[in-house]
Symmetry: C2
Subunit: 357 residues, 2 copies
DNA sequence: CTGAAAGCGCTTACAG
DNA sequence: CTGAAAGCGCTTACAG
C-alpha cells in the first residue's frame, strides 16, 4: 500500500494530465475545480497512494502541522495520561506530535528544547512539566519572546505568564480532607508530595484550609513530607505516629504513598479504615484492588490534555500568518477533581452526631 | 533567548558579510571555512540565536531527522519504558520523535499511520506495538514495500519480515518456573496474559517447556487466562484453586496479576509464600512494596528501546540517499530477562533434598 | 576558501 | 475553472 519510491505532485499532475497547481487544489479541498478534473486527479492519487510531502508543504504554508510536546516522567501516572490525551486529540485535529522528554524538571535545558522545537517549526508548544522549585520562572522571561503559542498543562498550570490548563490541586486537598472529617476523623494527617512541587504545596494548602475552616488546627506534627513513592508513604505513617499517636486519618497526596500508608498500618496491626482512614490521589488502576480498596481523588488529566490541544489550536489559528504571540492576559483554566469513595475511609457520619471539636 | 521573529540564513549571511552558502558551511561543520570567517559567522549565530529551519533543511537533504514512533498503551508499564528510552536515545543522536499512539493493537489503521509518517518524511519508523492476533501479518506485506527503514521493538519482535528487537519471553517463563520449582513447588500454576498476545503465548510456552524438562506435566487445570489486570489475577487464583487445589506456586505473567493473586491468597487465608509462592513479571515500582514483596522477572525494556534507535540509525545511514530498503534477511535481537528474588517465593531448596516427582 | 545558480516539493498570489 | 511564475529556506554541486 505504501508507495515504494516517493512520488511528487509533478508526477501525479502528469498522470492526470493537469498542472501541479490543480493537483494542489484537489489536495487542499479547494472548491474551484471542475468535477471531471477533480475525479480524474483523485483517481490518480488513490491509485498511486500519493501523499504530499509535509516538509515542503510546511515550508510554503509556514505551518508544519506539528505540535511540540514537552513532558517529564512519562513512566509516571499523570504524565502518561496527559500525553496520551494530547496525542489523541492532536491526531484528531490533524497535528502530529513531536515529543521531547526532560530528565529532571528542575534542571532541564529549557532554552535548548525551546530553540530546537522552534527550529523544527512546530505550530505550537504544549509544556507538560510539573512546576518544581523555581523552574516556573522561565515562562516569565520567555512569555513574550516566544515565536509560537505555548500552552502550559498539568503541574505548572496557573502561573500568570502563559495560558494554562491544570487541575485544581487545592480542591483535591479540600475534597480529601472534608471527606475524612465527614467520616468522623478528628486528627487528619497528611503525607505530602515533595514540597518543592507546586502540586504538592497546593494539596497541602487544601488540607490546611479545610482544617481551619472546620475549626481544627493543622498541626505540624500531622504533616510529613513524602516523595510520591510507596516507601515514603510507609515511612510517612511511622513517623506521623511517633509525632502524633492520635492520628485517625491520613490524606496521602498520591495513591502510591497511600499504598505505603496502608502497608505500614497492616504491619503495625492498625485496622484500615476502623482505626485509620486513608485517602489517596490519582485513582491508579490498582487502587480499587488495594486491601482495602482505596478511596481516592480522581483528576481529569485526559480532559486537561485534550483541552490543551483545542486551546493551542485556537491560539495558532488566531496568530495566523502574522506569527504574533497570544494575548497579554493569558487564560488559566483549572479543572475540578472528583472524590471516589471506597473502603479505605470510614463512611460519612451524619453531622448531627459529630460534636464540635 | 528564543528569537522573537524567525530569521533566515540570508539575514545571518548579510550580518556576517558572507554568502548564505558560507553560513551553511558553518552550520554543517564543514572544514573548508577560513578561521576568521568561521568566528565571524559563529558570533552572529550566537548573538541572534539563529537556528536553521529544519523543514527547509529536510527538504534539500532528503532527511528530516525525525523518527516515527508508533506505540500502544502509553499508560502501561512496558510501552512507557520503551518510548522513554527511545526518546532519550533519539535525542542523543539528533533525532526528534514523532509519536503516534494506536488505540487498539488489533484494529489500528496501520496503513494510514504508515502513510502519514511517510508523508512527514520520517527517516525511519520504530514500531512498538505488541503482537496481538494476526496484526503481525501487515509487516509481511509491507516489509519490502516500505520507503523507509522500519524497526520492530517489544512484543512484535521476532517475526521474520522486519528487523526487530525484543525480550526473550520464553526465557521469562522459564526463569520464573525454574525458580518456583527450585523452591520446592510441585504444582506450578500460571496465570497467563490474554492468549492472543504473542508475549503471553511465549511466557506460557516457557512455563510448559520448563515443566516438561523437569518431568512435570503442564496440566490444563494449572493454566488460567488473565487479561493483565489485577482483578484477573485475583479471579485467576480462585479459579485455579477450584480446578486444582494442590497448586503450591503461581507464575503470574505480569506484576499486576501477581498482585491480584496475592490478594486472593490473603482473602482465602492462604500464606504467601509458605503455601503458595508467587512470581510476577516487570518489576513495577510497587513490586517491592507488595505484601510480601514480590519476586519478579525484570525485562530490559529501556535497553531494547535504546538499541532500536541505534539500529535504525544504522539502517538509515546504510540506505543513504538511495532510499533502498534494508537487507532481505533482517536481524532479530532478543534480550534476556533477569530474575529478581524477593519474599513472595520460597527460597531455593538444595536439589539433594528434592525427590524426583 | 568562497559565491552565483539551481533545485528540493510544495503553495500562494496573479493572469487568463 | 486552470496554468505559468515566483518563492518558502535551506543545501548541493559547480565554478573560481
Amino acid at each position: 500500500m505504501a508507495q515504494r519510491q516517493r512520488l511528487t505532485i509533478r508526477e501525479v499532475a502528469a498522470a492526470a494530465g493537469v498542472s501541479t497547481q490543480t493537483v494542489s487544489r484537489v489536495l487542499n479541498n479547494r472548491v474551484d475545480v471542475a468535477p471531471g478534473t477533480l475525479l480524474r486527479v483523485q483517481e490518480v492519487i488513490r491509485k498511486t497512494g500519493y501523499a504530499p510531502n509535509m516538509l515542503a508543504r510546511g515550508l510554503t504554508q509556514g505551518r508544519s502541522h506539528v505540535l511540540g510536546v514537552v513532558a517529564y516522567g512519562l513512566d509516571y501516572f499523570g504524565p502518561s495520561r496527559i500525553v496520551t490525551a494530547i496525542e489523541r486529540q492532536a491526531a484528531e485535529m490533524g497535528y502530529a506530535i513531536s515529543l521531547t522528554l526532560i530528565l529532571e524538571p528542575e534542571t532541564g535545558d529549557v532554552d535548548h528544547v525551546l530553540r530546537d522545537l522552534c527550529a523544527r517549526q512546530v505550530d505550537g508548544i504544549i509544556w507538560a512539566i510539573p512546576e518544581v522549585s523555581s523552574n516556573r520562572t522561565w515562562s516569565r522571561a520567555q512569555g513574550e519572546a516566544l515565536p509560537v503559542p505555548v500552552m502550559l498543562v498539568g503541574g505548572m498550570a496557573g502561573q500568570p505568564y502563559l495560558p494554562s490548563i491544570g487541575i485544581d490541586n487545592t480542591a483535591i486537598g479540600r475534597l480529601a480532607t472534608e471527606h475524612l472529617l465527614d467520616g468522623g476523623a478528628r486528627n487528619v494527617g497528611i503525607v505530602t508530595g515533595p514540597l518543592n512541587w507546586w502540586e504538592a504545596q497546593q494539596r497541602l494548602a487544601g488540607w490546611r484550609q479545610t482544617l481551619e475552616a472546620r475549626g481544627f488546627v493543622p498541626l505540624d506534627c500531622l504533616t510529613v513530607e513524602g516523595d510520591w513513592t510507596v516507601s515514603s508513604g510507609e515511612e510517612g505513617l511511622y513517623r506521623m505516629l511517633e509525632q502524633c499517636p492520635e492520628v485517625d486519618a491520613v490524606f496521602a497526596s498520591n495513591d502510591q504513598m497511600a499504598l505505603g500508608v496502608i502497608h505500614a498500618a497492616h504491619r503495625l496491626g492498625i485496622a484500615v479504615p476502623e482505626k485509620i482512614s486513608v485517602v489517596g490521589v490519582d485513582n491508579i488502576a490498582e487502587a480499587s484492588h488495594f486491601w482495602p480498596p482505596l478511596t481516592t481523588v480522581y483528576q481529569p488529566l485526559a480532559d486537561a490534555g485534550a483541552l490543551a490541544v483545542k486551546e493551542i489550536d485556537k491560539l495558532i489559528n488566531r496568530a495566523g500568518g502574522s506569527r504574533r504571540v497570544q494575548a497579554v492576559t493569558p487564560e488559566i483554566t483549572l479543572l475540578g477533581p472528583m472524590l471516589i469513595v471506597r473502603d479505605s475511609s470510614r463512611a460519612v457520619v451524619p453531622s448531627a452526631l459529630i460534636a464540635a471539636p
